[in-house]
Symmetry: C2
Subunit: 356 residues, 2 copies
């Protein structure tokens, strides 16, 4: 066996991790100084002569030393990291929220650990507790469940928590929401103003706060116009394309007098409804909650109630860091406005004689 064959020492071992890394102790030994002096140089603390500093720097470079923040965190008590739990990192609504939280964290020198609850309260809890075990300094949560008593020992110990997009089950926490009720009411009123009297509503599962708030806005707009709501026009449930497609078709073809317009409760519902409408024999007006990329290019272009997902994330993260900096004023509830974007689909009028 030559020297170039695999050494018997490379038999599958678990990879060495920390053991293989130089520590401050190694740097100190090589530079011939004390541990604390290395710490001073690494952290840019004053009180080291240029010559000593130079020797330490040289040892750091030679050894490839990089401070182990895990150890630092243990001693300092702050991890300089925050957690974000939301429904789905891949969702076009939540992705910009995620990015916005990241930017704020970055501005504060913190890292972001995040994950998807997949709308499962048990998974949310598991993820949140894992983040707590890592001792994140704070938590931004889009709650999937409504019982957050499991967080009480954490908040009691000083964990800052902000709920965003939906309220959580913890009265002491800050909350940042969109005006779901007002936005939906405005969108439905917009359809009514264009002559519609029979309007369908397709939304997310009723245990989701935004779904019921938007439904409430729908009902308020209908009531304000003195219009009755036939319960067969209303459908809450999972936003899977299959269900939304089936429900859209059911509501559009309802007998004896089908709806002439549709209000869709979020981006996923709208995307599927638009596909059904594209193949539907008669025109149906549509206003959707949440904006969609390319919505302006469809025929007709899609009128929406837009919320600002990035602003939701930014506001929540700002609040969180304010708490981390010591603000202990009463918990806040911030509500961000929505915006009606008129593009065409919401301004279609009912065919003559069909709106009665």
């Amino acid at each position: 066996m030559s020297d170039r064959t695999r050494s018997p020492l490379s038999i599958p071992l678990p990879r060495p991790r920390y053991g293989a890394r130089p520590t401050m102790k190694d740097v100190a030994a090589r530079a011939g100084v004390g541990l604390k002096t290395v710490s001073r140089v690494v952290n840019g603390e004053p009180g080291v002569t240029a010559e000593t500093e130079h020797r330490v720097q040289e040892a750091i470079t030679a050894l490839g030393f990089r401070r182990n923040d895990s150890a630092r965190v243990l001693r300092k008590g702050r991890t300089a990291s925050i957690g974000l739990v939301l429904e789905d990192l891949a969702d076009p609504f939540y992705a910009p929220l995620n990015r916005a939280v990241e930017e704020v964290a970055r501005d504060h020198g913190a890292l972001l650990i995040n994950g998807s609850s997949a709308e499962d309260p048990a998974r949310e809890r598991e993820l949140v507790l894992a983040l707590c075990a890592r001792r994140v300094d704070g938590l931004v949560v889009v709650p999937a469940g409504d019982d957050h008593r499991y967080l009480e020992p954490e908040t009691a110990a000083g964990l800052a928590t902000v709920f965003v997009d939906r309220p959580g089950g913890l009265t002491a926490a800050d909350t940042v929401l969109s005006d779901n009720f007002g936005g939906a009411r405005e969108g439905v009123a917009h359809l009514i103003a264009h002559g519609h009297r029979r309007i369908g509503f397709i939304g997310d599962q009723p245990r989701i706060h935004t779904a019921t708030e938007r439904l409430r806005g729908y009902r308020a707009a209908m009531a304000a116009a003195g219009l009755p709501v036939d319960e067969s026009w209303v459908s809450l449930g999972p936003t899977s394309p299959d269900r939304v497609r089936a429900e859209t078709e059911r509501i559009l073809t309802g007998r004896p007098s089908p709806v002439t317009a549709l209000f869709t409760g979020n981006n996923r519902v709208t995307a599927t409804a638009v596909r059904v409408l594209a193949r539907f024999p008669r025109p149906v007006a549509l206003v959707g909650f949440d904006d969609l990329e390319l919505a302006d290019l469809l025929t007709p272009a899609v009128t929406v109630i837009a919320q600002d997902a990035a602003q939701l994330g930014r506001t929540a993260a700002d609040l969180l860091f304010r708490r981390l900096e010591g603000d202990d004023s009463a918990p806040q509830r911030v509500e961000l406005p929505t915006r009606l974007i008129v593009r065409g689909s919401g301004e279609l009028r009912p065919a003559p004689g069909t709106a009665l």
Copy 2:
């Protein structure tokens, strides 16, 4: 002052974090057992009588104890967390990749720390090194820069790294890419097959590997068909809507013989080009790299070369965990196929007489 006024003790203090939390030592004291026994119960290790375990559990509940994983990590050497650095968490292409990496991490009991490089090599480096300082077990990186020598001390110490979407500047690392060259070649060949001879190409900045690979595919398809490329038809640069809009208009109106078709180099370019084409006086064929939501509903629907972002993420994360489990075979380079999705915009033929 009554008891209900604010106590002078609540004068703005930095929030207590760990200090306020019970430790295993506290639990041991309350349960009247040794520290190691608490550790056994918390970690579900065998060798504790039911009665002792019960006492410990009770103390845990009463104190609201939750194990501090920061301390655990320091001792064990593994953090059970991985890092992901990509261009933009909010981008509809990267968001599903992010989610896919998260799912794999979750399957392996690891948390995900992630962040956006914003296509800035310095920011990428800063983020990656912060993740290394936290001692993530592994790293998935969409590189913004091409010099990753700064990672060498880390990989030497055992850090596993996988580059995804683009190759990195570290030959020892695994790499997962889409077939950018082949996909673009196929898309352009598709346009040629529909009668086009003058085809424009608008892509991302030339320092980005995917941009130049796709351009190479364009040139290969043109060359294979014996078609000359007028360099005024080709534009690489930032994907900001302003630049892409201006370049699209320039290329479409080029004198004396403007292009009859366009190949767009990624999702952001396509979204802007589609907007220009929608208002353009004559029809122009289009094939875009990357699929877009609602692309099937535009008029004409957009023909694309789709890559599977989730599969890129999944493959990269799978590779990473295989390395973490001890696989020390030679670095792999995986190339995933792209898929032509025919929808209409890519099958428009040049107006009679314009294709010469």
